[in-house]
């Protein structure tokens, strides 16, 4: 018995564009496996192939070649069974704007045969803090509110695998935190894309970097962060003016770059941890208020990768 809930085998998708022989490889030989209960992050720039992958895995698009096994069912041969396993939240909220919030939730619950849905809807909207908006038409709701409603719908459908494409789009910080707490507490397998890397960092067990339809890197957060090698970043705050020190630091080639922060603070990016001593010896000539080694962030890696 395997604990893998999703396995893809050479998934490819080609979009043919207008004009002679023009095409785009939206997905190019994608092979990934996702474990049951895992929160899996898909990261990549716009047009990398994240949404195409999600659409294929949720049966919305047919791959040009390759296949996938979703919870033991062949994506192309057992489409109905696959559908019974997945729920989807796209960045477009997929809500009926001419229905009330409640009618939207009720419609999807009935369509997906959710038992005792009234109680479940009430509990879910209370949890998301949208209970006062239930009788309003969706067209009147703010974008953040619509995303909360879309999230409520996705979670209410009681599917084993949730595909969340940019779910935090338009949400305020408080709601994003609420979203993180909720997702952390569900037992479903979640495939998740977001441009908000702090959310990915807080949520995902494993991450895949994707670009031009290809998976570039895949691993746990730790494994991904280790890809930055022995490079480190050091946050420094000076008691005095920083210009003189900045000029001196720029003259050393073991420093990759320097990002200026608040008034007398800056972030120094070193080629290797071994140069930390050299940095300290330079700093010994200045009055330092604070010096701190900074963990490599996913954002740094993302920027370097693309």
């Amino acid at each position: 018995m395997t604990d893998k809930i999703i396995e893809t085998f050479g998934l490819s998708k080609i979009y043919y564009l207008k004009g002679k022989d023009k095409h785009v490889n939206a997905l190019d030989d994608v092979n990934i496996s996702i474990k049951k209960g895992e929160i899996f992050g898909l990261l990549g720039p716009n047009g990398a192939g994240k949404t195409t992958l999600i659409q294929i895995l949720t049966t919305l698009l047919r791959p040009t070649s390759g296949y996938a096994i979703i919870d033991g069912y062949h994506l192309l041969k057992n489409t109905k069974k696959v559908k019974s396993k997945v729920a989807l939240m796209l960045e477009s909220d997929m809500l009926y704007y001419r229905l009330t919030a409640y009618d939207n939730l009720k419609f999807f619950c009935k369509l997906y045969k959710v038992s005792n849905y009234q109680q479940k809807i009430n509990d879910m909207v209370k949890l998301l803090g949208i209970e006062n908006w239930l009788k309003e038409y969706v067209e009147k709701l703010s974008s953040g509110m619509k995303m909360k409603l879309a999230l409520a719908r996705t979670l209410l459908l009681e599917r084993d695998i949730l595909f969340l494409d940019e779910p935090t789009l338009g949400m305020d910080v408080k709601t994003v935190n609420l979203f993180i707490d909720m997702i952390k507490n569900v037992e479903n397998t979640i495939i998740f894309t977001s441009h908000d890397l702090s959310v990915v960092e807080k949520l995902c067990d494993r991450i895949a970097f994707i670009n031009e339809g290809k998976i570039l890197k895949i691993g746990t957060q730790e494994e991904i962060k280790n890809l930055s090698g022995s490079e480190i970043k050091v946050e420094i705050s000076l008691a005095c003016k920083k210009q003189e020190l900045l000029s001196e630091l720029h003259s050393h080639d073991f420093i990759i770059d320097i990002t200026e922060q608040q008034k007398n603070g800056f972030l120094v990016h070193l080629k290797e941890k071994a140069y930390y001593k050299d940095l300290l010896s330079i700093l010994s000539n200045y009055e330092i208020m604070k010096i701190k080694e900074v963990e490599p962030a996913l954002e740094d890696l993302f920027l370097r990768m693309y």
């Binding site: 109905k80 559908k83 019974s84 477009s92 997929m94 704007y97 009618d103 419609f107 999807f108």
Partner: protein, 278 residues
């Protein structure tokens, strides 16, 4: 045997529930703007008034046109208006499906655990609810003018249901074209319009020149609408069936084949082209 019956009941209940869920959603969307709904109820009555005044004067002169005469022209007229009302369902499908496309709700429907027949019948049912009032008024008026037996009434309703099923099938086919090939789908509507022109919905067959009449006879819609009117006027189901078996075969055959073909095409087109815009 008992378990089998329970299983069949369960499956039947499941299908009905899915169809009603879609119909309920569509009706609620229609009810969002009340005046749209009122106008859709009132509007069908407007052309009837003018046509009735004109034809009333025309037939008062003792003129006959094929089967149309002063004693039955109103039955022909009200039946024709009911067919026209049902025909609006053909346009309903492309409208609904394009709305779903632009609201981007289509993916949510497409991955839901229901089949295309539920979608077809859900839209079908919601449209029947919306047009129920003018349809019932025309039907009752025709019944008052030319009374028929209860069995014939039931049979006529059954024929109307088959007609609307045929129209739904055509509408579903157009609907999927409307979302996958937005540039070309109207070509089909032009073809369909031509087909309806030579189907004698609201005018007698004899009105057409003798050269065109053989073409009309090739049109299945002509036979379908004709059998509806004949059933009414003869008011004897057995007689009508034995006298016009060919028309009945066309009616039932089309009602089975058209929805199945449309669902088949829906699947092919959806798989081949995907839905543009995502």
């Amino acid at each position: 045997m008992k378990t089998r019956t329970i299983k069949i009941k369960k499956i039947f209940k499941h299908h009905l529930s899915q169809i009603f869920t879609i119909a309920e959603k569509n009706v609620k969307i229609q009810l969002r703007f009340k005046f749209n709904l009122y106008s859709s109820i009132i509007f069908p009555f407007l052309p009837v008034i003018m046509s009735t005044i004109v034809l009333m004067r025309f037939f008062s002169e003792g003129v006959t046109f094929g089967q149309w005469k002063d004693t039955n022209y109103l039955v022909f007229l009200f039946t024709a208006f009911n067919i026209e009302l049902l025909r609006t369902i053909i346009q309903k499908f492309p409208i609904e499906m394009r709305l779903e496309k632009y609201w981007k709700t289509l993916p949510a429907l497409m991955i839901a655990p229901f089949n295309k027949m539920h979608l077809l019948l859900g839209i079908f049912l919601s449209h029947l609810i919306i047009i129920a009032i003018p349809f019932a008024v025309f039907f009752l008026l025709a019944c008052l003018i030319s009374p028929i037996s209860p069995i014939t009434i039931i049979f006529i309703i059954f024929i109307f249901l088959l007609i609307v099923l045929i129209f739904s099938g055509i509408g579903f086919f157009l609907g999927v074209f409307a979302i996958s090939e937005e540039n070309y789908w109207r070509i089909f509507t032009i073809g369909l319009q031509l087909l309806f022109y030579v189907s004698c919905i609201a005018y007698p067959f004899e009105l057409f020149p003798a050269e065109i009449q053989p073409i009309i006879r090739l049109n299945p819609f002509y036979h379908i609408f004709e059998i509806l009117r004949v059933t009414w006027l003869e008011n004897n189901i057995l007689l009508t069936i034995t006298n016009h078996p060919f028309q009945f075969i066309i009616l039932i055959g089309t009602a089975i084949i058209v929805p199945l073909i449309s669902i088949y095409f829906f699947k092919i087109i959806y798989d081949k082209f995907g839905i543009v815009g995502y």
